[in-house]
């Protein structure tokens, strides 16, 4: 178990201790995380068997919900102290999120999908336009992820393959260089070769941006490519009750 030491030279990107959370309602589910930390520029693979509370963990991490007990800090900010809209703004500025699949708004163009987070994050927008326009930054990211911007930018995302869609999603997560990239099984819809290629590109861009990465997966063999592998059931205990 890693122990978080906040007084080290670089502050942790994420630090959780004694976090408790309970979903109310018919599908009551509670999760307790004793301790978890993510250091700057660290790449962590989080192994979460189904039912271990993976979605709840991600919701807590991204500030969709707040813990009822304990401390959850991201980039030194106590998430519980932010208002709900404050957490939304915080997520927009500091998080890049990639889902398992269906990452893109199907009727929007590739370019609009990549630029979408910048509408909610003025600081990220400023960072993205430093080297030119936000559009040129989107092109640069798409190119670095192995997509020809000229070919795909105007396309509707519905015309892309799954692999291409995941790369557009990665470009959206990376634009404006947020500090933390959260990826929820981004490769599960890809075959093995494409998985490796996708991770290569993602890692290179995460490193170039100086971001940290938490990737959730159930495929432990991916672990050797990460700095560290954390099993969710080892850091957290979950309890599911039948509907009362």
């Amino acid at each position: 178990m890693q122990r978080s030491l906040p007084e080290m030279q670089t502050p942790d990107v994420v630090s959780m201790s004694g976090v408790r959370f309970r979903w109310r309602g018919p599908r009551a589910f509670s999760l307790a995380i004793d301790s978890f930390a993510l250091r700057a520029k660290e790449r962590v693979l989080l192994i979460g068997p189904s039912g271990a509370g993976k979605s709840t963990f991600l919701s807590l991490l991204c500030g969709i919900v707040t813990p009822s007990e304990g401390r959850l800090e991201v980039l030194g900010t106590d998430m519980a102290k932010l208002s709900s809209s404050g957490r939304d703004r915080f997520r927009a500025e500091h998080f890049g999120i990639i889902f398992q699949m269906f990452n893109l708004l199907p009727y929007g163009s590739v370019l609009d999908n990549v630029l979408l987070p910048l509408s909610f994050a003025p600081k990220r927008r400023r960072r993205a336009s430093q080297g030119g326009t936000i559009e040129s930054e989107a092109s640069r990211l798409l190119a670095s992820l192995g997509l020809d911007p000229k070919e795909v930018e105007g396309l509707s995302t519905a015309n892309l393959s799954v692999g291409q869609q995941q790369r557009v999603a990665a470009a959206r997560a990376l634009i404006g260089a947020p500090e933390l990239i959260v990826a929820d099984e981004p490769t599960s819809a890809l075959d093995r070769n494409r998985q490796q290629a996708f991770l290569d590109l993602l890692f290179a861009d995460v490193a170039a941006a100086g971001a940290s990465l938490i990737m959730v997966s159930h495929e432990e063999e991916l672990g050797k490519r990460f700095d560290r592998v954390v099993r969710l059931d080892e850091i957290a205990t979950s309890e599911r009750r039948a509907a009362a």
Partner: protein, 419 residues
């Protein structure tokens, strides 16, 4: 401006359901405005039918009944006014002019009205407009007739044609005044009033065709020919009603009172405007019912719109989770859906209004011709603008229902993309 653009693209993605929804709202708005237009058009048409007449005198009856049969040719008189009473009233010093009306006969369903040549100069419609002749001239001979524009058009009559008047007012009559045919001496220009559907003859002619009749049937063996009748003294025994113009409007109430209290015969005198007001009070209930029905049709259309937005919510949960993941607040999602509902309603209202005006432009001449209803094409009144604004607001508010649900869903789903 990516978010509004994406919202628009999302809507375009559902173009078929969205356009059907807009169409439903458009039709309901068209109905609502159309009812309003017809209602005001009908009122205007009625109000425009008589102008410049200060009093209408008839046998004792309700004001509405007298107005309806004397001016609108609807219904029948309960009783007549004797020629003596008529002459007494005509002699009163307050009276500037008096025009008698004698009803009871018809020609192919069109009412025949016996009157004096003064009728063509004294009767006024639509803000004091006088009758005009499209062809021919007022009656001069005993058996001359002046027909309204609709009569001429429907029956294809020209000046000089011969017509036979039937006894009674049904469209099919078995008893005709065949022995005394009339000749069309003039055709009136279109007025948009019941005058268009009337055959005008002289008061003496009405007397002449009934001279050999008694109790509503020809007297057997006592036929008097048309030539013989010309030599007779044809003073009418009674008229149905009379239109009155006064020298001073100030005398209106005084004369009305005097006629209502006329000792020798029970008479009624009505002020046309006041009787119309009474009529509106009577038909107001029906108008309100009609308006309520159209309002309910609009409510149904809005309900359909809410249903459409609600049913698409499930397939849009992914869209919402993505928006949430990039930092959209639940309030943004709420606003997005409410705006969508508002925009759909606005589009429906604009389209419905446009369709109504297109229909008005297209059908106005037909409605005028077939129903005698002259619908004016004006820009929407303040009241109509208010109605349209209320519908858009109602659509926006109704959109809050699915929006609230989306809000709750996006809170519950959090970061999980459900498909």
């Amino acid at each position: 401006m990516i978010v509004p653009r994406l919202a628009l693209q999302s809507l375009r993605n559902r173009a078929l359901t969205a356009s059907l929804t807009v169409l439903a709202i458009a039709f309901s708005v068209m109905l609502l405005l159309g009812v309003e237009k017809v209602r005001t058009g009908a009122r205007q048409s009625f109000a425009d039918t008589i102008s410049g007449t200060d009093l209408i005198v008839g046998a004792r009856s309700g004001a509405i009944q007298l107005l309806l049969y004397s001016v609108f040719r609807i219904g029948n008189a309960t009783n007549n006014v004797t020629w003596k009473s008529y002459s007494d009233i005509a002699k009163r010093p307050e009276v500037d002019w008096i025009v008698p009306i004698s009803l009871g006969d018809s020609h192919h369903g069109f009412r025949v009205l016996g009157t004096t040549p003064d009728y063509f100069t004294r009767y006024k419609y639509r803000h004091g407009q006088a009758l005009a002749f499209a062809d021919g001239k007022p009656f001069s001979d005993l058996f001359d007739a002046v027909i309204g524009a609709d009569v001429a058009q429907a029956l294809g009559y020209h000046v000089g044609d011969e017509i036979v008047v039937a006894h009674g007012v049904g469209s099919i009559s078995f008893v005709e005044h065949k022995d005394k045919p009339f000749r069309v001496s003039g055709i009136l220009a279109k007025t948009g009033t019941p005058v268009d559907r009337t055959v005008h003859v002289s008061l003496e002619a009405i007397e002449a065709i009934h001279v050999d009749w008694q109790n509503g049937i020809p007297m057997p063996g006592q036929s008097i020919s048309a030539d013989e009748v010309r030599t007779m003294h044809l003073e009418p025994k009674a008229v149905t009603a009379a239109l009155l113009g006064l020298k001073s409007k100030l005398a209106t109430f005084k004369l009305q009172r005097a006629i209502n209290e006329y000792a020798e015969e029970p008479l009624s005198a009505i002020i046309p405007g006041a009787a119309l007001q009474e009529l509106w009070g009577l038909v107001g209930t029906a108008e309100t019912a009609l308006s309520i029905v159209s309002a309910m049709v609009v409510a149904t259309a809005l309900l359909g719109m809410v249903t459409m937005v609600l049913t698409t919510l499930n397939e849009r949960r992914r869209e919402m989770a993505i928006l949430r993941s990039v930092g959209a607040r639940p309030a943004t999602i709420l606003g997005l859906l409410a705006t969508e509902a508002g925009m759909l309603t606005l589009a429906g209202v604009v389209l419905g209004t446009a369709l109504l005006y297109a229909a008005l432009l297209l059908l106005q001449p037909l409605i005028d011709r077939v129903y005698g209803l002259h619908l004016t094409i004006d820009p929407p009144t303040a009241r109509e603008w208010l109605t349209l604004g209320t519908i858009v607001l109602a659509g926006f508010l109704a959109g809050l229902l699915p929006a609230m649900r989306a809000y709750r869903l996006s809170l519950a789903d959090g970061m999980t993309v459900r498909t």
